[in-house]
């Protein structure tokens, strides 16, 4: 328990010092996102034309206004929705790229942040971390099959009630969620082992990470739960803010936009914090050994 608290506290300290790095990561992602959003904005303005109907969308939600609007420009908007999948792959690659720089900086929290060093570390670890990402994807697919194959057998029989199907599905999703988290922890520790060993042997590190996370599973989940509380609270706060702001023309739209961006920035910070917590925990365990 003490190790978890120590790691958690240390992770906080490190992440609070990583504002410049967080901003760099945030801005990189933002630029990539804006490549889609700016043409989307232009399309929106063009579809809206001289009609007054889109003004109904400024104040809250109107199914009629949105429906009419989407009918007018549906096909064009469809392009952007389809583009979301390749964009997610791009984000995945970009996120993998930054991992080398983040871990290097976390491991040396007293050093000053330098963009050049950061990018250098990103490049240095990109290839093994991309491989890690690929293996993680395979692990996640295996986890999904392990959960949903028995679930589909359980709900595939005759004479079942929808309650039985619903509860089985919920149970399956809960188990899958736990395995999903475990999968992310394996990936996290694979990268940490690669970094600490200085060797680029991905499969060996993956195996070590698998064993390490399995041995420490209850502590790691404990840390994960502690880490997840803050983003969850933030999400609820954002939801409440949005629910209260039913009238949001002009300044309110701008303020809401700012809140959303702060929320995203904080989430990046928290992600760095998570890596940092896991790293400190590993260090504490290794020191004890």
């Amino acid at each position: 328990m003490m190790k978890i608290l120590k790691a958690y506290k240390s992770g906080w300290t490190v992440s609070l010092n990583s504002k410049r790095m967080t901003s760099l990561v945030y801005l990189s992602y933002l630029i990539l996102a804006l490549l889609l959003v700016i043409p989307f904005y232009r399309l929106f303005v063009s579809v809206a034309g001289s009609s007054l109907l889109p003004d109904d969308l400024i104040r809250g939600f109107s199914a009629t206004a949105l429906g009419e609007f989407m009918r007018e420009g549906g096909k064009a908007f469809g392009f952007y929705l389809k583009a979301l999948l390749p964009w997610m792959v791009l984000f995945l690659v970009l996120g993998t790229f930054f991992q080398g720089g983040i871990i290097s900086w976390i491991s040396n929290d007293r050093g000053r942040f330098s963009t050049k060093t950061f990018i250098g570390n990103c490049v240095a670890y990109f290839w093994p971390f991309l491989k890690t990402c690929f293996y993680t994807l395979i692990i996640q697919i295996i986890f999904a099959v392990l959960v949903y194959l028995p679930v589909s057998i359980l709900i595939g029989g005759d004479n079942l009630t929808d309650a039985h199907i619903g509860k089985t599905l919920i149970f399956g999703i809960a188990i899958h969620l736990l395995l999903l988290i475990w999968g992310t922890m394996i990936a996290e520790y694979t990268r940490l082992f690669i970094y600490r060993s200085g060797k680029r042997k991905v499969l060996k590190s993956l195996w070590k990470a698998f064993k390490f996370t399995l041995r420490n599973i209850h502590r790691l989940f404990g840390m994960y739960i502690m880490w997840v509380i803050l983003p969850l609270a933030l999400f609820i706060a954002l939801y409440l803010i949005r629910m209260r702001w039913t009238i949001d023309p002009g300044l309110m739209i701008f303020l809401l936009f700012l809140v959303q961006q702060v929320f995203i920035w904080v989430r990046f910070l928290l992600k760095i914090q998570k890596t940092s917590i896991f790293y400190r925990y590993l260090v504490l365990i290794v020191q004890k050994a």
Binding site: A33, M88, F91, G95, I253, I264
Partner: protein, 677 residues
Amino acid sequence: MLKKLFPIIIVFLLFFTSTHAQEILTNPLSERITEYDIQVKLDTETKKLSGQMVLKWKNPSQDTVRDLQFHMYLNAFKNDKSTMMSEGSSFLSKEENWGWVEIQSIIDPEGLDLTSGMRYLQPDQAIDEKTLRLPQEKPEQMRDPETDQTVLSIPLDKPVLPGDSLEVKINFISKLPKLAKRTGYAEDYYFVAQWFPKLGVYEPAGMRYAEKCGWNTHEFHRNSEFYANHSLYNVDITLPEDYIVGSGGVLQNTESHADGTMTHTFRAEDIVDFAWTASQEYQVFEDQWRHVNIKFLCHPEHAYQAERHIIALKHALEYLTEHVGPYPWPHVTFIGPPMKGSAAQGMEYTTFFTAGTVWGLPEGIRMPELVTVHEFGHAYFMGILATNEFEEPWMDEGINTYWEGRIMDHAYGSKTSVLDLPFINIGDLETARFTYLLMKNPKIADGYRASWEFPHGSYGAVIYQKSATWLHMLERMIGQPVIDEIFKRFYQRWGFKHPATQDFIDIVNEVVSEYHGDLFGESMDWYFDQFLKSSKMMDYTIESIRVRSIKEKGGLFGESGNQEFRESETVENMFKSEVRLERLEEAIVPVEILVHFDNGDEILERWDGKSRAHDFVYERAEKVVWAKIDPEMKMLMDANLMNNSYTREPSKMSAVKYSGKFLFLIQNLMQFAGIFN
């Protein structure tokens, strides 16, 4: 003396309570042309019903009737050649899954068995393949009798004279199909509809504008089930005693038998069809709304939603009573079928209907409420106002969907009555309008045709949603009190009869004329001609707004040799604003246009909407900033609301807001993608 009389009184009472069912209503609501006394036994092993039925029928016409025509609708489930099966893909396969009904004997008052003369008819098979319409003259029999066996003609040995009655005794066997299209069994769950030979409606000449007298019978179709007399039903159902039974009747008595079965005796008055259900797992919830005893039967997994269903039903009872007319029966029973019986969801039998739900539905998804309100509404539109669903389906499903929308929007909010979730919500009327307008081809068919004449699966959107949308538009044009008066008069005049489309239009014309004079023209026929009887669409647009400075006329003026040249000069602070309107589609409706000037002045203009283009021109110191067709959103049939308004100063605020939302969505998705690295 009293002591001596007591046993006699008891015997007398027992005799009457056991052999004569107690009447439900003080006075009959209908003519009760048909009466059914049925004893039926369900064999849960073979899924068969064996029944004995006494049918009483009164000839309502001045004709001598020489045959009886029955609906044998369980035969729709007999093979792939039935009309219903041929109208879509087959859904039954194994031998035990099919269903059928057979008359084993039909004995007339002279004791003669009439079965030898029985023959099946296919009255609807005469459709013109090209026009998809019935020809004016309907041949009685068009196809091989093997094709469809859902209409049966039985010639009578002795004809029924005008006003006379006939009583026949019928023995029949019905094999239930595996539950499909709201009929049959699913394991040990039963929903028993279309299960007995049911008499058609004999229409004297003139009834529902019929040119000739005769039986009005139709094959069982995929999209329509109902046209029947208001009848009296006394039904004894015998089945294993651990089954809980529900029906459209009032339970009069139960009697256990030594063989482990129990007979449930039901009586139903003035309803058009009798269906029932049985399950060992039903939980029964009872409630009361004014004079109406409410009974809800559902399986345990849906029991926690019982209150939602019952509250929705009470909303419907309250609203329809207030805006249309009283619900006359003292009882209503409805069920929530289990998942294995989901094919029974969403069906109506006047005082008995089936709702529909799924375990785990959040309160913001109002499926249980919507299905309950819709199916109960049929007690009025089909039950009380017994229209012919085969020939004029819009009067049944269309009108009922309109009332579903009114009730749902009233009870649960006009923007939240279908879906009320965080960040997304939609109302019933909005859903109806979109379903119609999002059709690939909204002009594919008019709404004034028989139920099987709708090509490419267009029946639902045209009959339910389009009809509901133009009825809502009519309401907004003439006003809610006026349309309420129309329906009240429709209920009073045609309740427990069989109205046709023209009967409804006549009342609309009568009431609109009383309230609005000739504001909408001599009659409202133009409205029905465009939106019911044709597939015309409506779309008005503001093509543009043009604003220019006003100039004095320039050029040469006067006679030759004495001409004066005047320069065209701008008049200070005077502007000519032109609001240019166009009609893009065929439908013509008078429209209102709100014109807004830069000093805040507003003018409400009216245009008859007849010409293809029309301009409103203003010469004044103020400039027109924007204009809006139909500012009060009455014209719900307008196919494109985006082009109904035009502003010279468009706001980009909505683009900013939604681009921000899109950005936030992308940023959240990229965080989600992060779980893989």
